[in-house]
Symmetry: C2
Subunit: 348 residues, 2 copies
C-alpha cells in the first residue's frame, strides 16, 4: 500500500468487476502446495490426495442481482444454489456440499426465510448436494445471499478455461438469451403494474422465458454425458455473463481465437419472437445477455462423433489461432468481430 | 412448506440466531457419503480420502458487526480472515485456502478496497493461507464481507464439540473479555467525538484492549503445540460469543456439565481495570462478552502434564455429568449457575 494512496480516490465504477478483482488479488501469492488453481477459473482447484476438491463462491444482493417484486423467495433460494453448482460443473466436477450465508433486514419474517430455504433444500435434493454450513445475520438493508459450493473431480478429468487448442470444436448446451428476455418481460410488467395497478400481468405465454430467469438449472446432464462417453472437453466455462464474454475468457486463457457460425447459435423460438417484439436482434441477445447457466466448451476433433449424439447441444464454431481473433460468421459468409461486452453493458 | 405459512408472520427477532439456523436447516438431510459433519460445529467436515477437509464460513455486515467510524479497513480485512481461520483451528485443523466475497456501495473508492485487501493479504501471508476465489459486487448500502475458509486435518485428529467426557479438564487459551471492553472504549470515544469534535480521543493507554477488538489473532500456536506434544483435545470450540455461551455448546453437544473456577478464568490486567471503570464485574465481562477468538477445549487427565507446560493457557475447570449442569465456583466455594447468554444479550 503506497502512502500516496490516501490522497487519491478512484471510483470503483472506473474499473469493471473483472479488472477490479484482478487488481485486488494480483499479489495473492500461492503458498500452499495443495493449491492447484486459485482465482481465474470457474472454481478453485485444491489437491486432496486422490482427487481434486473444487471450491466456488457467489454473492447475490437484493436490488443488484434480483428484484423481490417479481422473484418468489423459493425460486431465489433455488437459483442461488444453481448458479454456484454451475461453476463446479464448468470444471467437469460433481458438486457435493454447499454453505449458505444470509444477511437479512428485519422486514423479512421467519416464514419468508422458510420459503427461501425451501428453495435451497429443493436444489440440494435435486442435485444431490449437502447443505453443511452457514451463517444467518442481520443486514441494514435488503437480503444478501452468499453461497460456497464444494465439489470434486478426478485429477485427470478437471477442465480449465485454458485448454482450448486450434482445430478444436466449440459447443454450447441448451439455448441462449432466454433469461435476459424473461427479465425484460418482468421489468415491463412491473412498470405497467406500477402505473396501472388494476391491469393484470399477462405472463402465461412467456412461461418458458420467465422460467429461464427465475428457475434456471445447472447442466449436470452434460457432465454425466461426458463421463459416460469418455469425453473430456479441452476447455469449459459456464455462460453467466453472455456467450461473447465467455468466448473471450476461453480465448484469453487458452491463447486462441474463435469463429462462431451465427446460424448455429441456439436460440429458442420464444426468445426469437420476444426479442423481435422488443426490437432486439435475437443473435445480439444470445451473444450478449447473461444468466443462462449453460455450458460453453471446446472438444478435440476425435470427440466430435460423441458430441453429435449428445442431447441438447449445439456445435457453434471452431477454435482458430489467437492472431485471428474472435469473429461471428454470418449466413452470407461475412465475418464480424465479436466484442466482449456482457450483460451490464448490453443494458445501457 | 405449509400453505398456512402465507398467513403467518413471525418476526425474525423472536428466534435467536442459533434457533433460527437450526430451524431453517433442520430438514437438511445429508446425502453425500463424504459429508462427515454438517451444520453444528465450528466447521463442516468432508472426507477427502486420506484426510478430512474442513469448511467454515462467516459473513460480516457493516453496521452490525463493525463500525467504520473506528475500524480501519486494513484491520477489518485482517480480522475478517482471522475469524474464519479460528473456526478451522477449533477443529484442530490447519487452514489452507480462503475465498472472499465482498459487496460494496459506490461510496467506497478503489483505494479503500485496496486497504481492505491489504489486510486480507497480510493475514493470508502470516497464516500461510492462499486466497483462491471470490467475488466483488455492488451493494445498495454498506460493506458486506463473506469469507469461506478451507482447511485440513488428519482423520484421527479432528476435534468436535461433542467429545468432552466426565473427568476431563477444561482449558482456555489467552485471556477473555478484552475485545468487548475495547469496543466499549471506542464507542465511548466515538460518542464524545460526535458531541465535542474538538476533543482528541485518549486511546494510547488502551492499546491492548483496542488491539483485542480490531486486530485479533487466531490461535495457530495452540494447534501447533497439540501436534508437537501429541495432545488431542477431547472437545474444542472457539470463543466468539463468550466463554459461557461456548461452554453451553460443548455441554449440550457432549452431554456433560462443567464446573468453572472463577479465579482461574484468565482476565488481562487492563481488562480488569477498564471493566471496573465501566462499572462491570470483570468476571461477567470474561464470561459473557465475545470476539476474543481464543480456544476453549477439554483434555483427558493423561494430557494434563503436557498442558501445564503449554504457554498462554489456563486450566479453568472440569467436566462433570450433564445432570450437574454448568456452574461457576467462586473463591469462597459458592456455586452459581451459568447462563448461556452471549454478547448480544449482554449489551442490553
Amino acid at each position: 500500500m503506497e502512502d500516496s494512496n490516501q490522497f487519491k480516490r478512484t471510483d470503483i465504477n472506473e474499473l469493471g468487476e473483472f479488472t477490479l478483482i484482478d487488481h485486488l488479488t494480483f499479489d495473492a501469492i500461492l503458498k500452499q502446495p495443495s493449491t492447484i488453481k486459485g482465482i481465474g477459473d470457474d472454481a478453485a482447484v485444491i489437491d486432496s490426495g486422490d482427487h481434486f476438491t473444487l471450491v466456488s463462491t457467489d454473492m447475490l444482493v437484493e436490488g443488484i442481482h434480483f428484484d423481490l417484486a417479481y422473484t418468489p423467495l423459493k425460486h431465489l433460494g433455488y437459483k442461488s444454489v444453481i448458479v454456484n453448482l454451475s461453476d463446479i460443473y464448468a470444471m467437469n466436477g460433481i458438486p457435493t456440499q454447499i454453505t449458505v450465508s444470509i444477511a437479512i433486514s428485519n422486514r423479512f419474517s421467519v416464514e419468508a426465510l422458510e420459503e427461501l430455504y425451501a428453495g435451497i433444500h429443493l436444489a440440494c435434493d435435486l442435485y444431490n448436494v449437502d447443505l453443511v454450513g452457514g451463517d444467518t445475520t442481520s443486514s441494514q438493508k435488503g437480503l444478501i445471499i452468499s453461497i460456497t459450493a464444494i465439489g470434486e473431480v478426478e485429477k485427470t478429468k478437471v477442465v480449465y478455461r485454458s485448454g482450448a487448442n486450434i482445430g478444436d470444436i466449440a459447443c454450447v448446451t441448451g439455448s441462449l438469451g432466454g433469461a435476459y428476455l424473461g427479465l425484460q418481460m418482468l421489468e415491463r410488467e412491473k412498470q405497467i403494474y406500477q402505473e396501472h395497478p388494476s391491469v393484470q400481468p399477462q405472463l402465461d405465454e412467456h412461461e418458458y422465458l420467465i422460467g429461464r430467469l427465475l428457475k434456471p438449472e445447472a447442466r449436470k446432464d452434460a457432465i454425466a454425458y461426458f463421463e459416460e462417453n469418455n469425453v473430456i472437453p479441452s476447455s469449459m466455462i459456464d455462460v453467466s455473463d453472455g456467450l461473447s464474454s465467455e468466448l473471450f475468457h476461453l480465448a484469453r486463457q487458452s491463447g486462441v481465437g474463435f469463429i462462431i457460425d451465427e446460424d448455429m447459435v441456439p436460440i429458442h423460438i420464444d426468445t426469437q419472437k420476444l426479442a423481435i417484439d422488443f426490437g432486439i436482434d435475437p443473435i445480439t441477445c444470445a451473444l450478449h445477455s447473461g444468466e443462462d447457466y449453460e455450458l460453453l466448451f471446446t472438444i478435440k476433433e476425435k470427440d466430435l462423433e460423441a458430441i453429435r449424439m449428445m442431447p441438447d447441444v449445439a456445435i457453434i464454431g471452431e477454435v482458430v489461432s489467437g492472431s485471428e481473433g474472435l469473429h461471428l460468421r454470418t449466413n452470407s459468409g461475412n465475418k464480424h468481430a465479436l466484442s466482449a461486452q456482457g450483460w451490464k453493458h448490453f443494458e445501457r
